[in-house]
Structure formats: C-alpha cells, structure tokens
C-alpha cells in the first residue's frame, strides 16, 4: 500500500472533500443580533445598538454554543456570523473561538467599525479560514456617513480595516450602490484592487431589500426611493460589455429556465439560518412566522398570530427539537407548489427565472405572501434580457416558448 503523499490540501477553490454523501447541514447562518452601531438609510434589518428589548430577547451565549455543537454534529463545516452587526455582541470573541474549536470555518459579515486590536490579533492568531466580508458605504466621510447616519463611523471603519491590514488578516470588500455614493464607484474599485485578498472583482449590492420583518412602512418608502432604476443597474453591469455578455452566457446555460409551479428552486432544506432570537428560518430572507420554527424554549411561538400565505406545508410545526428537526421540516418546502394564478401565468412559465431574483423570500418581504411576482425584480430582469437580445422590445419572459434557442450563444450575442 505504499504511497508517497497521504494528505490532500483543500484550498477554498477545490470544493468540499466529500466523495460520497454530503453532510446533512453544509452551512449555518447565525444572526447574532439585529442591533447595529450604524443606522444605514437602506438597511433591511437593523435595530438601534442600545435597543434594550431586542437585546433582552437575543439568544444567550449558551444557546448559541449549543446550536454550533448541533451544527458540527450534522457535519457543518462553515458558520456565518451576521446581523445587524455581529461584533456588537459582548460575547463575540467567545463564540468565535468556540466555533473554531469545533472545527468550523467562520464567515464574518461586518461593517468593520467595531474591530479592536484584540479582535484583530485573534483573527491573526486563529484565522477564520475564510475571508472576512466587509460592507463599504462610501469612500469619504461625507458619503459614508450620509448612509450610516452615525458621526465618526467613517473613522471607525478606517481604523477597523487598518487593524486587519496591519496583521494581514484576509478580508474582502463589497459595496452597496446608493445615490449617496454611486459617483465613487470607480474610486472604490481602484482601492479594492489594492486589498491583498481581493483576487476577484468586488461584489455590489444593487437591488435593495425592503425591511425583512415588514416592520417599518416609513423606512420601506425610503428604501424604495434609494433603489437603482433597472436601467441604472444595467449601466453598472455593462460597464465592460464584453465581460458582461460572456458571463451572462455562462450563467444562462447553467441557471436559467422556467421553474414551473414549484416555489423553491434554491438549496432550501440544505442550509439553515437562525435569527437573533432563536427561530430557524429556511434562508436569510424568509422570516414569515409560518415558515420558521422555534428553537428557543424561552421564545413564545408566534405562528398562530398571523397567517398570510396562499400555500401551506403539511407537517410543518411551530416548535422543533433542534437543527436536524428544523432541516427535515424545511426540506418539505422543496416540493411546495403554488396555485396563485398570477404566479402560474407569469413566473412559472418564465425563462428569466434565475436571472430574475424573484423568490419566496423576496416575495414575502415585498408583499407578505411567498408567491407574488415582485414588479421591481421583474422589470430589472426584463431590461437585462432585452439588452442581451433574449427578448424583443415588447416581449415578456413568460411568452417565449423557444427559450433554449434564445439563450444559446449564437442567438444572444450580437
């Protein structure tokens, strides 16, 4: 049995090491808090940093440790800590070390403002094994703080990033495109290119979500006013036309096509998101109480209080015994079909599905149902499809029968 090398190194681009069955849970998302040190004008989730009610309802350290243990037992290799701002939790370091000691990679989503020398030292000594993801709201104090609405936050953000840079802690940056900062995009890209771990172009948040909890009508009006128009999005995407068309060709052949009456075409049932209070959600955006299950015995179930969907899943229960139970409940969602005539007439037959971001979570955030087409996303997808040549001027994605021919390379690129 002599062989020269016994160890296989698995860099992040080499994929996961499974030869046979994949682990039951591949990634766990934990929103450590909904509170944030910033107060961004476009934010879909945040509550004030000093919100005592929100804080009192958050999971305890031990509850989160228990979830992490359960996740590791289910074969999970990566936990994402997000928020709100996850670094606001006083026990963040403890939870981070605990996750790493369980053999989990930690993906941290942060605004970087609360990174301290001690925390940066910890990331250097005990690396998260995946780049920290930092969201950037502006390249200068004026634009940055016009978004975050917290005086001094730009200086905090710069200090946080410098602490990481000084210690060679790998991080990547992403940009939220807003009226307050869109004139700085080129400057952002040049700067992003100087960050050592930025081996790929930065990602952009271009379609802003409404309030994820449907909790603030006034703020929703503000978010809608900040959204790029479909043509503005297209202008950003097509700054390098050749690159755009090439990437869309590759994308179309892999991900586009009508999905029929089935609502979930994503990886629902393979990953889990836990909100700050201990409710398991099938994904980050789907917070409707009837689609979530409660893992926290201290938390009262809210399932009975509201019901606003035209579909229901047999066998879903409001309470669950743990992550494994939550996963098996959510795996039923995969077969969930809709009877909403509007959805069946349009989305079910539309080949732009995949290019279009329409999904149950987006539908719920916008309309309070999981199967209503979202006009903003629909229009954005159609503007792109017409630009590429997949659709004629007055055509709609659901009218096209020969869509495979349309998205073939010969037809689309001209």
């Amino acid at each position: 049995m002599t062989q020269k090398t016994y160890v296989v190194q698995r860099g992040r681009d080499q994929g996961l090491p499974w030869k046979g069955a994949r682990p039951r849970l591949e990634q766990l998302d934990v929103e450590l808090t909904e509170r944030c040190n910033n107060d961004c004008i476009h934010c879909c989730i945040n509550r004030p940093a000093n919100d005592a009610v929100a804080r009192a309802g958050e999971m305890t350290t031990e509850q989160i440790r228990d979830l992490l243990r359960q996740a590791a037992d289910l074969g999970c290799l990566q936990v994402r800590f997000t928020g709100g701002e996850p670094l606001l939790r006083h026990d963040f370091q403890e939870l981070y070390i605990y996750a790493r000691r369980l053999g989990l990679k930690v993906l941290l989503f942060t605004n970087a403002c609360l990174i301290t020398p001690g925390l940066a030292d910890l990331f250097q000594r005990m690396p998260p094994l995946i780049e920290i993801e930092v969201t950037v709201y502006g390249m200068h104090r004026e634009s940055y703080e016009a978004v975050t609405r917290i005086p001094g936050s730009f200086a905090q953000f710069q200090r946080g990033l410098n602490l990481l840079l000084e210690r060679n802690v790998p991080f990547v940056v992403k940009w939220v495109v807003l009226p307050q900062n869109k004139h700085e995009m080129v400057e952002f890209e040049v700067w992003a290119g100087t960050i050592p771990a930025m081996t790929r172009p930065p990602s952009y948040v271009m379609s802003l979500d409404l309030r994820n909890r449907r909790d603030d009508e006034e703020k929703n009006v503000c978010i809608q006013s900040l959204r790029l128009t479909p043509h503005e999005s297209l202008a950003i995407l097509t700054r390098d036309v050749a690159e755009y068309k090439q990437s869309m060709e590759a994308f179309a052949s892999r991900f586009m096509g009508p999905s029929g009456d089935r609502l979930f075409s994503c990886g629902v049932g393979c990953s889990l998101c836990i909100d700050a209070y201990g409710r398991a959600q099938p994904c980050m955006g789907l917070r409707a109480s009837e689609w979530t299950v409660n893992l926290n015995p201290d938390l009262k179930s809210v399932r009975e209080e509201d019901s606003f969907s035209s579909v229901s899943v047999p066998g879903m229960r409001p309470e669950c015994a743990g992550l494994e139970d939550a996963l098996s409940q959510f795996s039923r969602l995969y077969d969930l079909c809709t009877t909403n005539p509007e959805y069946l007439r349009r989305c079910a037959r539309c080949f732009l599905k995949g290019l279009c971001e329409q999904c149950p979570a987006k539908s719920w955030t916008e309309h309070g149902t999981i199967d209503t087409p979202v006009a903003y996303l629909c229009e954005t997808a159609h503007v792109q499809a017409r630009y590429i040549g997949w659709l004629g001027k007055n055509e709609y994605g659901w009218e096209v029968m020969n869509w495979q021919e349309r998205i073939s390379v010969q037809h689309s690129i001209r």
Partner: protein, 100 residues
Amino acid sequence: MATQLSLDAVCACSENVVARTIEGEVVLIPLIAGIGDEEDELYTLNETGQAIWQKLDGKKTLKEVAVSLAEVFDGPASELEADVLGFASELTKRGILVAK
C-alpha cells in the same frame, strides 16, 4: 532542524488542529495560523492516510500502529512500517501531528 521520526515514536494530533470525521471522511482543520500554505486550507487524507489516522491513539508507537494495520492490509511488515513512518513524517512536518 526537524528531527527524524523513528518507529518508536508515539504521535498524536496537534492541539492546533481540529480533526473531524464527516460522512466517513477525516477532515483536518487548522486552528491557528501557519499550518497550511494558505490561510483557508483544510486537509483530507487519502485511503491509506485515513486508515493510519484511525489507528493513531496517542499511545501506540508507530511500529505498533503498523502491526495493527496488518490486520486490515495485506503486504510485508516493512512496507506497512514505511507507510506509517512516511505518513507520520509528512503530518509532523505540516504541524498536524506532534511526536510525544
């Protein structure tokens, strides 16, 4: 300079590495910086490596590990010993195993 391992050595997983078995696959996850060549690297083992890993209990010498492998694998004792020694040397060099 790294010392040569001998078959009398007893090796165990470094406390700087977390070893997990997921879906039958041993996955070695660095806990501190400097174990992998890159910051985000994990390790898995080939079939031989996995068989040897499962016999390492922090008590047996490498020679005893080779003897216990003879129950599972055919082949001359010298070949099994060479594999165990090669495996332990490779993982010790990478900081995944430590000689006790």
